[in-house]
């Protein structure tokens, strides 16, 4: 029996010709349906085995610099039993990749990777039946270029983690080599034949109407063409600089509009805003009654402002609009969601719309990418050519959908033994509105669309992770909020943990108990205890109550603080400690050293994981120290890196990370969790150094 006959007669596996991996950069734009399986129930949707034994994996989860690709490749390599360097990844192409949901909420590994792993485990069993040997050296010869035509078997056996040889290793991310040599094709670098450059002139104030356009004002700029659709105003040009110059030079008249409350004293505005509904998230015991009889009572209010994704590169997309099939090249974290939304809003059949992910500047949720794609789509549709739109700096800072403002009031009480007897959190948060987030371009062009609103799961981690018999957490969901929202890294959790862990520190100080001891008294979960002990040992924690009784170091006052989170109360365990020095004459906070202990279950790639944790810490340090989106009655006023500073190089502290690997537990995502304790650890350290409790972000002394 020859091999082909064997394949045919083998009862389990039927072979046919597989799709041979058209790469996104070379795909013909009009190929909206290349015929590759994408049903997430099918193994072939996730994996293609090539004749040379290499494997391509397909996923809708995209790597926005997080190291997700290599982690997925390691998981697949481990289960299939082939070397990780034989695996390449096609990500986020609606025509090629199964829909595993968008990339967010730290689900890249937990859903994306785990589904791929199961597909690989299913494939391995089938391949062994086909006669592929256990070390897979003949996999290309036997199965290369063919479909397995198999359903993913949720019961296909997985390797025992104790036998892992690829998972758990710090395999280098191959894309870093390309990024360091300028050979990565970012969406900003992508072009197609005949492509024009576009720029959009956004209204000077939110909701302003376009009254007139002086076309003569850009007559001296070569080949610049104006596209106007109601209040949507764009420029297209052969030359990018011509588009930029024309967009800057074009004289326009707009109606003025004053729809915003202004960001000064926004917390008061939020506190006084109309409430849509109250939601009780936790209700245990009787906090009101318990508070009345506690030995010590405290209350405090914490504030977190609007913040921007502040992507380093402004959002960009190229769209080739054609009646027979439209292609969008985008760095959106949700290519499938983008397609579904654009199909509805712009009246395009979903099967005539293909979204292809390309690397972009880091995004931490939904930045301006979807809006830039909508801009490019309208321009391409208007001029009948592919159009690339890259936003300018003020577009990104001014118009990206923002992380929400959050106001929290906490009351708590200690019993006679200085244990938490009662805890009451009240949050004022922007309420959700059903439907997708409005696209700027569609609103400007008068195209009807949903005006949904969500910033993600922003009410989590509002309760203390410590033993407390009486706890209540209530959210006052607000009817409205001034700016468009989106999910910004660890949505809501950073502010909530800032409040909860600052307040915990306030209780510890009121009890005159060391902050670590105070927390450990309320914890029994050994994983929680492990991370707290580890992070504080690493920093050389001196057990004593805060504030520091001897903080003086020359002009400086020094102190240490810590914070702990169990992310979403059910995922990663993270503890963090910081050493700070505060210059009392200038108020400048200098963070000297940060230690972090992190437990996210099974570790797939320890170096990639460390990179994510370090990034979580440093990015959030900037969000805590500096970042606030400001606006007047008409417009966002923090529109560049001077008015919206982020962490800069000279401010960077030493960062030490300890990974606690739990190979027998499921892996959790790690793109968000280590952000959550940063603000509280910093505020607690500043309190220790100065005796001043900072409850508003950005922290100011």
């Amino acid at each position: 029996m020859n091999r082909r006959d064997f394949l045919r007669t083998s009862s389990v596996v039927v072979v046919s010709f597989a799709f041979d991996g058209v790469m996104p950069e070379t795909a013909a734009p009009q190929t909206t349906n290349p015929g590759k399986p994408i049903d997430p129930r099918e193994v072939d949707s996730f994996l293609a085995i090539h004749a040379d034994g290499a494997v391509t994996i397909y996923t809708s989860k995209v790597d926005v610099g997080t190291g997700l690709n290599i982690a997925m490749a390691q998981m697949v390599a481990e289960e299939l039993g082939i070397p990780v360097d034989r695996i390449s990844v096609v990500e986020g192409d609606t025509a090629l990749t199964p829909d595993q949901g968008g990339t967010g909420g730290s689900t890249g590994i937990t859903r994306g990777g785990v589904e791929l792993r199961q597909a690989a485990a299913t494939a391995r069993q089938a391949l062994l039946k086909l006669g592929v040997n256990a070390d897979m050296t003949n996999v290309g010869a036997i199965a290369g270029g063919k479909r397995l035509d198999l359903k993913v078997d949720p019961k296909a056996p997985l390797k025992n983690p104790s036998s892992y040889t690829v998972v758990g290793k710090p395999v280098l991310r191959p894309e870093v080599r390309k990024k360091c040599t300028g050979t990565t094709v970012f969406v900003q670098d992508f072009s197609v034949a005949g492509m024009l450059h576009g720029r959009v002139i956004r209204p000077p104030s939110i909701g302003a109407k376009l009254i007139s356009v002086d076309e003569a004002s850009i007559r001296s700029i070569p080949d610049a063409r104006i596209v106007r659709i109601q209040n949507f105003l764009g420029i297209v040009a052969n030359d990018e600089w011509a588009a930029v110059r024309a967009a800057k030079s074009l004289k326009t008249t707009w109606s003025e509009s004053q729809t915003l409350p202004g960001s000064d004293m926004l917390d008061r505005h939020v506190r006084a805003s109309a409430v849509e509904r109250d939601e009780t998230l936790v209700n245990r015991g009787d906090p009101a009654a318990a508070l009345a009889v506690t030995a010590k009572q405290l209350s405090a209010t914490y504030w977190w402002p609007f913040q921007s994704h502040a992507s380093l590169g402004p959002s960009c997309a190229t769209v080739d609009f054609r009646p027979e099939g439209t292609t969008i090249w985008s760095a959106s974290q949700g290519p499938h969601g983008l397609r579904a939304n654009f199909a509805r809003v712009f009246g395009i059949a979903e099967d005539k719309l293909r979204v292809i992910f390309l690397d972009g500047s880091g995004s931490y949720g939904s930045n301006g990418n979807d809006d830039a794609a909508a801009d490019a789509l309208l321009l391409s549709r208007a001029v009948g050519k592919p159009v690339r739109v890259q936003w300018m700096r003020e577009d990104e800072h001014g118009w990206d959908p923002k992380g929400p403002p959050q106001l929290l009031e906490i009351r708590g009480g200690l019993d006679a033994e200085n244990r938490i007897a009662a805890w009451d959190t009240q949050m004022w948060l922007p309420g959700n509105v059903q439907g997708s987030r409005p696209l700027l371009a569609a609103d400007d062009a008068g195209i009807p669309q949903p005006h949904g609103r969500t910033a993600g799961q922003i009410s989590q981690n509002g309760d203390p992770p410590y033993a407390a018999p009486n706890v209540r957490v209530v959210v006052h969901w607000l009817k409205d909020t001034p700016l468009r929202l989106s999910n910004l890294r660890a949505p809501g959790k950073i502010a909530n943990v800032f409040a909860v862990e600052s307040f915990t520190d306030e209780l510890a100080a009121a009890a005159a108990i060391d902050p670590v001891e105070f927390r450990l008294r309320g914890l029994t979960d050994p994983r929680a205890v492990d991370v707290i002990k580890r992070a504080t040992e690493m920093i050389g924690w001196e057990a004593r109550p805060s504030p520091n009784s001897r903080p003086q170091q020359g002009n400086l006052r020094v102190g240490r603080g810590m914070a702990y989170v169990r992310y979403k109360q059910m995922e990663n365990y993270v503890a963090m400690a910081m050493d700070v020095a505060v210059d009392r004459s200038t108020g400048k906070v200098n963070v000297r050293r940060i230690t972090c202990a992190h437990d996210c279950g099974l570790v797939i790639n320890p170096d990639g994981l460390r990179n994510q944790i370090e990034g979580c810490i440093l990015q959030t340090l900037g969000r805590t120290l500096h970042e606030e989106t400001t606006f007047d009655r008409s417009r966002v006023t923090s529109v560049d890196w001077k008015s919206y500073p982020i962490l800069s190089f000279p401010e960077v502290p030493t960062v030490e990370v300890a990974l606690i690997d739990r190979p027998m537990l499921p892996p959790m995502g790690a793109g968000e969790a280590a952000t959550a304790p940063v603000a509280a650890a910093l505020a607690n350290a500043v309190f220790d150094a100065t005796g001043m409790r900072l409850r508003r972000v950005p922290l100011k002394l």
Partner: protein, 153 residues
């Protein structure tokens, strides 16, 4: 259309520009196909567009092409290739000193200029020397390690 002649990565090039004020960034990216250099802000605030002009780090987003005539420009492509990265690029790869990679061009080019002036910098010198380069993903500590590694090598 006026033509500007200068050197890029050791080669003589000439580029047309209808506007003498056109920033070098757009000429490099769109006329010469050198995409490593990135548009970040157009304001000289973030450093993503950094190139080296006559040995000094410069912001290509705010350097008019007319000012580059007759001068010598080095871009990231001029340092090394994926197969043969230069010492500094190799150090970035070893330290995995990138997340999204959008700032990487500017970080490497600013570090290159720094190491030319100061071959064995202290950590503080690196932090100050790269003080005009922003990284939103927060890979600063790795970039610091990479530059120190290249300085020692």
């Amino acid at each position: 259309m006026p033509k500007y002649t200068f050197r890029v990565n050791g080669r003589a090039v000439s580029a047309d520009s209808w506007d003498p004020a056109q920033p070098l960034l757009y000429v490099l990216r769109n006329s010469l196909g050198l995409h490593a250099v990135k548009f970040g802000c157009g304001l000289g605030q973030c450093g993503a567009c950094t190139v080296i002009i006559d040995g000094r780090a410069a912001r290509s987003c705010s350097t008019p092409v007319s000012q580059v005539a007759g001068r010598s420009v080095t871009t990231l492509e001029g340092l090394g290739t994926p197969e043969r990265p230069d010492k500094l690029q190799a150090a970035f790869i070893t330290e995995q000193a990138a997340q999204c990679g959008y700032c990487t061009n500017g970080m490497i080019m600013s570090a290159k200029a720094l190491l030319t002036r100061t071959p064995n910098p202290t950590p503080e010198q690196v932090k100050q020397g790269l003080g005009g380069n922003l990284c939103r993903c927060g890979t600063y500590t790795r970039i610091l390690s990479a530059v120190l590694r290249a300085g020692k090598a």
